[in-house]
Symmetry: C2
Subunit: 359 residues, 2 copies
């Protein structure tokens, strides 16, 4: 349950009667968190459902994606994208259904992926909106394995990591939306794949379900010796989602010419000041490469990503797991939990019933 305050929409004026159902619910950023975000930092507001103008569509949100990058958007100033302003709707990827179209490219009933944010309804010009074919894959995958997290894994591993058969690939947050795809693609490419995760069930999952060779539980195992044992030939690619102690340990095991796609630093997203990082001597000594990247810079790879990952999905070589909570009001707790590693698989909020879901 959301502990934040509820701001009700103004009572509708007589000349514009609004049906009770015709209310848009939104989650706004109420306060900038210092340290871990709290539920009180969010606010649920109700407002009239917006009307599309010519060239626009009105979308009903079915699924909202919950991703670690959202923490950065809650801070003042830009991290790698502009901050959400106080009182504004939180940003977020969505799968929606078009409920009204005044756009020639979309029809009522179309299923689309976009960035409509934490709200039940949104108007869009169609820019950045991609139509989904529910016959290809469950539409929720457009926020996970066939969406931004999957493409992050694909671009970071293949374009920066450049895995070669027989190399060792280590990935942190291995059971997460990105890490699980990284490891599975690395396996498809013939690598020895080792994960780091924070729970026994997650470690078991990536080994028995996803086919990783090993997975180290950073909450119960001593990281460096456990990783050494799991990576007897050292680490050629460390795909980092977390930073912190995992990165520091991984650097001690990297091989010559190692590549480190720097995808996320979840371990420090809630830090109130920048903590020190790892010592960089192993990077120098091993001629290693560290490359920060943001998937949105790599739109040119969307076609290849979708083709490859859809095929691997159909072939059963790429599996995924979703961690779905019900109702928009659950989104704030979903994010705070995600930042503490309490998700297991791709975190989603089901905002409205999925019309394509069976059962």
């Amino acid at each position: 349950m959301l502990a934040g305050s509820i701001r009700r929409a103004r009572r509708p004026r007589a000349e514009s009667p609004i049906k009770p159902a015709a209310v848009n619910r939104q989650v706004l950023l109420r306060r900038r968190p210092v340290g871990p975000p709290r539920l009180e930092d969010f606010e649920i507001a109700e407002s009239p459902i917006p009307a599309p103008r010519e060239g626009e569509i009105l979308c009903r949100t079915l699924y909202l994606s919950v991703d670690p990058y959202m923490r950065g958007r809650m801070n003042e100033g830009r991290s790698y994208a502009a901050a959400v302003e106080l009182g504004q709707v939180m940003v977020g990827g969505t799968v929606s259904q078009v409920v009204e179209s005044r756009h020639p490219g979309f029809a009522r009933g179309d299923l689309v992926a976009g960035y409509n944010g934490w709200q039940a309804y949104a108007v869009s010009t169609g820019a950045g909106v991609r139509k989904l074919d529910p016959g290809q894959a469950p539409i929720s995958t457009a926020l996970g394995v066939l969406g931004m997290p999957g493409m992050t894994a694909y671009v970071g591993l293949l374009d920066i990591g450049r895995p070669a058969p027989g190399e060792t690939v280590l990935v942190s947050a291995a059971a997460g939306a990105v890490g699980a795809v990284v490891g599975q693609i690395a396996r498809i490419k013939g690598c020895h794949v080792v994960g780091i995760a924070g729970a026994k069930d997650k470690c078991d999952y990536v080994v028995s379900e996803l086919g990783f060779e090993a997975c180290v539980n950073y909450r119960t195992q001593e990281l460096l010796p456990a990783l050494k044992a799991a990576c007897p030939n050292g680490v050629d690619i460390y795909f980092d989602n977390v930073g912190g102690a995992a990165l520091a340990a991984a650097l001690k095991l990297i091989n010559r010419n190692a590549r480190i796609p720097l995808c996320g630093l979840i371990a420090q997203y809630n830090a109130t000041e920048l903590p020190p990082g790892p010592n960089l001597l192993p990077i120098l000594a091993n001629r290693a490469l560290v490359k920060g990247f943001i998937v949105s810079d790599h739109a040119d790879r969307l076609g290849a990503f979708l083709a490859d990952c859809t095929r691997w999905l159909h072939e059963g070589r790429l599996k995924y797991r979703e961690d779905v909570v019900e109702g928009l009001a659950a989104a704030p707790a979903a994010l705070t939990g995600l930042l503490e590693g309490r998700n297991f698989g791709k975190k989603l909020v089901r905002v409205s019933p999925d019309p394509t879901a069976s059962g």
Copy 2:
């Protein structure tokens, strides 16, 4: 003066009389330093001058190069190259004259650059030895601006940094053998060049002699605000020779798609345990690249480097400064001083008189 002990060669046996002049002096690694190396960690030994066999040359050392990487070779285990063993001659680049040749490719009197180490004479098979033309440039430059440090600057800046006209290039240890070349090549490439150095005369030198736009004195100025002022458009390339506080400050100023050739971490070479490094969030947020590199991996670039830098030298666009001490016995103090930033320009030891020097 060297405070270390002197190990004298055994008294020559009667059947192999050795002339007093025919003594080789060597500096050996006596003890592995913990923290900053001390003069007592070295030992001067005397031994017979070795005799070249068929296919070998005997070289008399004229100049010995003193470089920060040597500190790493004094440690147990490998840093990026094998350690010097206790009791063995310290490694080092040399400019020498061939005094006896049993190799068809070399003649007595030839001037050569190689890695003969901290000793007055050495026998070589000619592998890795490059003949020098004193008509092209002073032969000592083969250890500096036209040698390993210059090529380090060239490869790191051009191949990893990939400078574009108008970009801002920041370089630490700016008056050093590598940094000075980095800044001057960056200027040749049309960049805004800012240095970091540890003394007023060094800062003045890189600005007035080498043409940097600015140079920040890290010993007297507050690094971050001074760098901000000197780099009003942020930093596109940070060529790092030192790590530590300079790297941490530079990361706070990097622009999107910044490149960071990681060349050295002098600030921590004497550390007894790996200190924490900088926070990596700016690398992620700015999609920056950090690349460790070792110049010896880039032998394919030797021809281009020598052609470009010799031409720039002749054109007066590439200047250099040498900091020469006299006599092999001065080498240990030269290295300990270098690691504390007490050199001003390329640190060299003149082991024997340079027969090509005028005056």
